[in-house]
């Protein structure tokens, strides 16, 4: 079965998951992003690569921040951007996902940026749009958040130059995290030495070993000598349903404090996809400390999203 993200020439036509993409494609996205980074420093922050193209932001699940970064990225590429907050419009009136897509396709969209609460929804959309329309996944259920993973990779490459000798720890709610899954695939494809996941067993999905991940339930062991720490957001609703007893106990054992950070290498990077819960998964001294690259991630995120949009839009139909 052909990877639905690639066209018959093997070019990236949709970005739905980092899984199954070659190292070359990932590197190409990062290299392209690098050319967009200096743009932010210029007076005129626009390039005309997507002039005349229409980008539709379809957010079936609310997220102001991610939507805004896509909006900025598309605007800097000179595209016309339309934001649709589906959550409060058609879906609430009972329109099916495919009807919504058919309607918006009739408005001559070129790129759909989709966030959906159901894992796999962007594949369904990609199967039903015409061949010259591109789908970019901005997060689907627990499955994937590929632009977040790519901006994480960009950040790691920026500071560490190479992936080959790195040990990366992902800490927190891996079970529900699309960021974790996309990062795991990207990191293993780019050839890091080791990927670790650290969390209580209630937050670790089965089958991580098959994905090339070593699991730990103890921060002291899991963080030992790591080069990069990717913290995950812990949502409040996880305190219900017998996954965790309290945020207090979680922070005590799995929250990233300066004390626990000391287990990692002295130059370890601290990353977080945001929005952060200070005092739940990370303490402020670490989040705002010298090893934190959390705000760099945000800046690079725009360049990475510009790169992804320009690459998929350039793929032949």
């Amino acid at each position: 079965m052909r990877n639905p993200q690639l066209n018959k020439h093997g070019e990236l036509t949709h970005l739905i998951s980092t899984e199954g993409l070659s190292r070359d494609i990932l590197q190409h996205i990062l290299d392209t992003a690098q050319t967009f980074v200096p743009l932010a420093e210029r007076d005129v922050k626009k390039v005309p690569l997507l002039r005349g193209k229409s980008v539709f932001n379809l957010f079936f699940e609310n997220s102001t921040r991610t939507r805004t970064t896509f909006e900025i990225a598309a605007t800097r590429l000179s595209a016309d951007v339309f934001n649709l907050n589906i959550n409060v419009s058609s879906a609430a009136k009972g329109e099916t996902l495919l009807d919504t897509i058919a309607n918006l396709s009739a408005m001559q969209a070129d790129i759909f940026v989709v966030r959906h609460e159901s894992s796999g929804a962007p594949y369904l959309i990609a199967r039903h749009v015409s061949p010259d329309v591109h789908v970019i996944n901005a997060g689907d259920g627990r499955h994937a958040h590929p632009t977040q993973a790519l901006l994480d990779m960009y950040t790691i490459r920026h500071f560490k130059k190479s992936f080959s000798n790195l040990t990366v720890a992902i800490v927190g709610d891996v079970l529900h995290s699309r960021v974790a899954r996309s990062n795991i695939h990207a990191l293993t494809t780019l050839g890091v030495a080791e990927v670790r996941a650290i969390a209580p067993l209630t937050l670790l999905p089965s089958g991580l070993a098959e994905m090339g991940v070593k699991t730990y339930t103890d921060m002291a062991q899991g963080l030992k000598d790591v080069d990069v720490i990717i913290m995950l957001r812990l949502q409040n609703e996880r305190m219900r349903g017998a996954l965790l007893p309290s945020s207090h106990e979680y922070f005590k054992h799995f929250g990233l404090t300066q004390e626990k950070l000391a287990y990692a290498k002295p130059d370890a990077l601290v990353m977080h996809p945001g929005p952060m819960n200070r005092g739940v998964e990370i303490e402020s001294a670490v989040a705002d400390g010298p090893q934190s690259v959390i705000l760099n991630q945000v800046t690079f995120g725009i360049a990475v999203r510009m790169a992804v949009m320009s690459i998929v839009a350039g793929a032949s139909s």
Binding site: M1, P4, E19, T96, L97, L98, H116, S118, S119, G120, A121, Y123, L124, D140, G141, R142, H143, A144, R178, R181, P205, S206, G207, L208, E210, M211
Partner: protein, 432 residues
């Protein structure tokens, strides 16, 4: 109708018969084999040289969606599909709308089927009122109305005391319970088998323990009560091992597996193909191999279609939101033959799992019912004529069911049903 089938290759697993012969049918029964009965004038003579005549298939689970879900399927559309699949007897689970928890509903269903006068239908009554798992139904009344056993479909009883009482009550009358082994808490909100594949896809998982824990509970209560149990849709190697132990121990247990689970695994889901959204979910390769082995050895008594018509709207959704189920009536025979060819299972054994095996399950559950599933002299003349060497492609044109959603869409399968007969009367013939 007096029927003479000439030059047939008669395959009858119940009698261990596989040979070329002539068969005569009259008065709805098999009148004679090998020698023409005295003074027999056939209304119709069919020369079936090179073709197989076998007992009509007995399918232990097919949802026909009537009453309540006629937009998905009707008795007419699905019984046609059954006939095209060579099926002459169908067991219907009780999860219609309303569920089959009152004698009147069962009588109406039987009446509708009698009017159509085609395939034999055997409804299962709801074990609890509204399938809610709270109050047991009038099992004796429902049996008088035509129910052959009692079931909860895919709604397991979470209150163990209700389960125990249902077993005790059923045992008092000698009824059998047809239950899916499913721990409702562990299975809750899961849409794929727990494991590496579900984790990668980010789909909530159903652990194997949801099946094994439920089986432990069922067998432990059964040991105390002694009621007959038919375990529906075993899906895991662990579950099968427990059933094997229970049988070895002498508990009155039978079980079935669906065509989907005998052939597919979770990785077939691919990129969220909703045709593979099934209940129970597809498990791993080790599970599938164990199920096929159990089927070959007879630990699993029957292969069933688990026919569950779903309309297009129910499938064109993100995987987790899509409705579970697949059409299967027209695939049952072909998938039994495919399994036999792939695993080199003797044809008589393979066909027994869709004829004699399920017929025996029914006979244990409803002892008063006239025996079916064989083609000896005196048996009901329920049969099908099959071209074992022909291949056909599963596509939307070839399927008669109102739902054409099946994981096997586009596949080429062996064995084509040419004709189906019930009570000595041909009720369906293929176009060519």
């Amino acid at each position: 109708m007096r029927l003479h089938l000439k030059n047939a290759r008669l395959i009858d697993p119940a009698a261990s018969v596989d040979r070329v012969t002539d068969i005569w049918m009259a008065g709805g029964r098999v009148a004679s084999i090998d020698h023409a009965p005295d003074a027999f004038t056939a209304d119709r003579v069919l020369d079936v040289a090179g073709k197989v005549v076998m007992p009509g298939l007995v399918d232990l689970s097919a949802q026909l969606r009537e009453p309540g879900f006629e937009y998905r399927a009707t008795l007419e559309s699905e019984l046609r599909a059954a006939m095209a699949g060579g099926i002459t007897s169908l067991v219907l689970p009780p999860d219609t709308d309303p569920p089959l928890d009152e004698p009147g509903l069962v009588e109406m269903l039987k009446h509708r089927a009698r009017q159509l006068d085609q395939v034999n239908i055997y409804p299962l009554g709801a074990m609890t009122v509204g399938l809610k798992g709270e109050t047991i139904t009038e099992m004796a009344e429902l049996t008088e109305a035509g129910c052959v056993g009692f079931a909860q479909a895919d709604r397991p009883v979470s209150d163990t005391r209700v389960l125990l009482r249902a077993m005790q009550y059923a045992k008092s009358f000698g009824y059998t319970l047809w239950l899916r082994p499913l721990d409702p808490w562990l299975a809750r909100s899961g849409v794929a088998a727990s494991g590496a594949y579900a984790s990668r896809l980010g789909l909530p998982g159903v652990p194997q323990q949801s099946e094994t824990i439920a089986l432990h509970t069922l067998f432990e209560l059964q040991r105390a009560v002694g009621v007959g149990l038919h375990i529906c849709r075993v899906s895991s190697a662990g579950g099968l091992a427990l059933i094997q132990q229970a049988k070895a121990e002498g508990l009155p247990v039978t079980c079935d597996v669906s065509i989907n689970h005998a052939h597919l695994t979770d990785v077939d889901i691919g990129y969220y193909d909703t045709h593979y959204r099934l209940d129970p979910p597809l498990r791993g390769q080790r599970d599938r191999e164990a199920l096929r082995m159990g089927l070959a050895q007879g630990t699993i008594d029957a292969l069933c279609s688990d026919h569950t018509p779903v309309d297009d709207d129910g499938k064109q959704l993100p995987f987790a939101e899509a409705e579970a189920g697949a059409t299967g009536l027209e695939l049952l025979l072909s998938l039994a033959v495919k399994w036999a060819l792939e695993d080199k299972v003797p044809l008589l054994d393979a066909l027994a799992r869709v004829t004699q095996g399920p017929a025996r399950v029914l006979a244990l559950s409803a002892p008063a019912m006239p025996p079916i599933g064989g083609l000896s002299v005196g048996s009901p003349a329920d049969f099908c004529v099959v071209d074992l060497d022909a291949y056909w492609t599963v596509d939307r044109q070839s399927l008669l069911s109102q739902s054409q959603h099946t994981p096997f869409l586009g596949m080429e399968l062996p064995a084509k049903v040419l004709a189906t007969g019930v009570r000595g009367r041909i009720i369906w013939e293929s176009a060519r």
